[in-house]
């Protein structure tokens, strides 16, 4: 039977047609849609369509206590939740003038870098899968699971940890945790040559990823590109180094850059960042035992916590780029306004639309994944 009341219509002949990518499409990262106008294989215009993941976070946060919102914020970016908690906590601490104990700061760096590794492994996998290379994505996601195991040992949750609260962290590390981290790092480092063989030196992948979605440094700055995508155009800027927070000033790490600004350069920057994260984590493992003190500053009764009136802009480097929280308090027990600036709000919408223009249909998914666009950050 013909189950759909579709009626064929004749159209004047045209070489142009419109194609919907998403929201139900494997070439889309998450629940997001992209409309393309094509001429043959060439994209004439692209239009992003968001809002499928809209939950009204900013409205929800205005209706909950300052401390309750900690449970809400990691949901804003699912693959990389830790920076969300940390940035929100930093914003609240800034409003209250709370001093975070040093040990808690080191613990936060530990989680942030673990989360960055997990997110980058996930992105590798996704990027490779858009070009038909599923083995890398299977490996990457399985290796990411080891990081999730570490998070489970530390916080009790695999994906959402709710471990950082304003004033510090909820608990200290469990015994033997740092050795476990160290072993996982050794294993992941030993896996990097495998990834190189399979993906980063694979001639077919290089052919596919070179010159795809390329931008120059001037264009990147003009369109508000941040994070690894900006570093792939040659600008060595990292919020961790240039607008330091927590204890990043005491840590040694490089800011890797590439010059080309295409999908290939972005993948290589992520790969280099993995190594830098390993380096940071090793320093944390070395230094953490020598730093004593509490992991949490004393905070008032969280159920009746009136945060002093004021406003602040807290900013960190998440795995996807610059993440910022603008928090306003009117002296009440709930936030007056919280505005989340996710890095993907630029990458997934305007930059993607702009890069898709003139690209090939084959490369649209690859451009989206190489930008590491995370739709929930756009929709919030």
């Amino acid at each position: 039977m013909r189950p759909e009341n579709y009626q064929a219509q004749s159209h004047p002949p045209s070489n142009e047609y419109e194609l919907f990518i998403g929201p139900n499409h494997p070439g889309i990262e998450g629940n997001y849609a992209f409309k393309l106008k094509l001429h043959g294989d060439v994209v004439l215009a692209g239009k992003a369509d968001g809002g499928y993941l809209h939950r009204g976070f900013e409205k929800l946060m205005e209706g909950r206590l300052w401390i309750q919102n900690i449970a809400l914020v990691p949901r804003i970016c699912v693959p990389d939740p830790v920076p969300m908690e940390v940035t929100y906590s930093m914003a609240v601490e800034d409003l209250c003038g709370l001093e975070v104990p040093e040990r808690a700061q080191w613990l936060r760096v530990l989680q942030l870098e673990l989360s960055r590794i997990a997110a980058h492994l996930f992105t590798f996998g996704g990027h490779a899968a858009t070009t038909g290379m599923y083995t890398t994505s299977y490996w990457g996601i399985a290796d990411r699971d080891l990081i999730l195991d570490l998070f489970e040992a530390l916080t009790g949750g695999r994906v959402y940890h709710i471990f950082n609260i304003p004033g510090g962290t909820r608990r200290d590390v469990p015994p033997g945790f740092l050795e476990q981290v160290s072993q996982t790092l050794d294993y992941l480092e030993s896996r990097l040559p495998d990834y190189d063989n399979l993906l980063f030196t694979n001639q077919v992948f290089i052919t596919r990823a070179k010159d795809v979605g390329a931008m120059t440094q001037e264009q990147a700055l003009e369109w508000g590109v941040t994070g690894p995508n900006l570093r792939a155009t040659g600008l060595a800027f990292d919020v961790r180094r240039d607008d330091p927070y927590l204890v990043y000033e005491q840590l040694e790490f490089d800011v890797p850059t590439e010059a080309a600004g295409d999908a290939w350069a972005r993948a290589m920057v992520r790969r280099a960042e993995l190594k830098q994260s390993f380096r940071i984590l090793r320093q944390v493992i070395e230094r953490l035992p020598s730093i004593g003190g509490p992991v949490r500053a004393p905070i008032p009764n969280p159920l009746a916590w009136n945060v002093p009136a004021g406003e602040t802009y807290a900013r960190v480097e998440s795995s996807k780029g610059e993440l910022a929280y603008y928090a306003v308090s009117n002296g009440g027990d709930k936030p007056y306004r919280v505005h989340v600036r996710g890095p993907s709000s630029m990458h997934a919408v305007q930059v993607l639309e702009w890069l898709a223009e003139g690209a090939r249909l084959e490369d649209v998914a690859q451009i989206m994944f190489s930008l590491d666009a995370c739709p929930p950050e756009v929709d919030r």
């Binding site: 039977m1 189950p3 759909e4 009341n5 579709y6 009626q7 064929a8 219509q9 159209h11 045209s14 142009e16 047609y17 419109e18 929201p23 139900n24 499409h25 494997p26 998450g30 629940n31 409309k35 393309l36 106008k37 004439l44 215009a45 239009k47 809002g51 499928y52 993941l53 809209h54 939950r55 009204g56 409205k59 929800l60 209706g63 449970a71 809400l72 949901r75 699912v78 693959p79 996930f122 996998g125 994505s137 299977y138 490996w139 996601i141 399985a142 990411r144 699971d145 999730l148 695999r158 994906v159 959402y160 929930p376 929709d379």
Partner: protein, 235 residues
């Protein structure tokens, strides 16, 4: 907490539909149900944050393919619709469109607490709260978010149900279409329509019941316009 062991367990026996005379027919039905339970293609649609636990469940660590579960790309090829997490109203429309395009027998699993009752977004203006109002749901897997083990366990429960022939809510969608359509219209407005002719399908496959048509389907017919090809609009 009261003693959990005191909770009585209910087991209900299902009356066999009608005795088939041909002994081979039973064997054949068994085989088909076995095949349907052991080969479940799930739709590759991440509707919410619970989708982040599906890649681990599918890939090397937990490997759903051991159980014959594979991701599939388009609704036409899929058997299971996994609603992974909260459904915003905008997504819900697409979920219903997708669900109606899937060939039956089809199954819906609601993953995460948000599909049960709105979860932690209970006061959000943008998310629908009870998934089973809009679609017949076979199984809920609660948790925020359920671990891959829980997802696989839920899949196994669904498999057992399919094999024993217990779970057939997809028939419910045809039989009580008016109820589901009414809830959809309440949320999306009276001019809500999908390209799939559900009533026609129900009649064609002999699944139409007394509640297939009603006041809401009359509203649908009143607003229904023939679908026309999409116009080029972009720039």
């Amino acid at each position: 907490m009261s003693d959990l062991s005191k909770i009585p367990i209910h087991t209900e026996k299902h009356a066999p539909e009608e005795a088939r005379t041909n002994p081979l027919a039973g064997v054949f039905d068994e085989l088909v149900r076995f095949a349907q339970s052991r080969s479940m293609y799930m739709l590759h649609y991440c509707t919410g944050c619970g989708a982040i636990e599906l890649p681990p469940a599918m890939t090397s660590r937990f490997d759903m393919e051991r159980l014959g579960i594979q991701p599939m790309v388009t609704p036409r090829q899929a058997d299971i619709l996994l609603v992974t997490g909260y459904v915003s109203v905008k997504t819900l429309k697409r979920i219903i469109l997708t669900y109606e395009q899937m060939p039956s027998p089809k199954y819906v699993i609601g993953i995460c607490s948000c599909t049960v009752n709105g979860g932690m977004y209970w006061q959000s203006y943008a998310t629908a709260k009870k998934l089973s109002e809009y679609l017949p749901v076979d199984l809920y897997i609660a948790g925020c978010m359920p671990r891959p083990e829980a997802v696989i366990e839920g899949m196994r429960a669904l498999m057992a149900n399919i094999q024993s022939g217990e779970t057939e809510p997809w028939k419910d969608y045809y039989q009580r279409y008016d109820y589901y359509l009414g809830n959809q219209q309440h949320l999306f407005g009276d001019n809500w329509q999908t390209p799939t002719d559900v009533i026609g399908q129900a009649q064609h496959y002999g699944l139409a019941g007394p509640e297939t048509e009603g006041e809401h389907t009359r509203i649908l017919q009143q607003y229904q316009q023939p679908l026309v090809a999409h116009k080029l609009r972009l720039k």
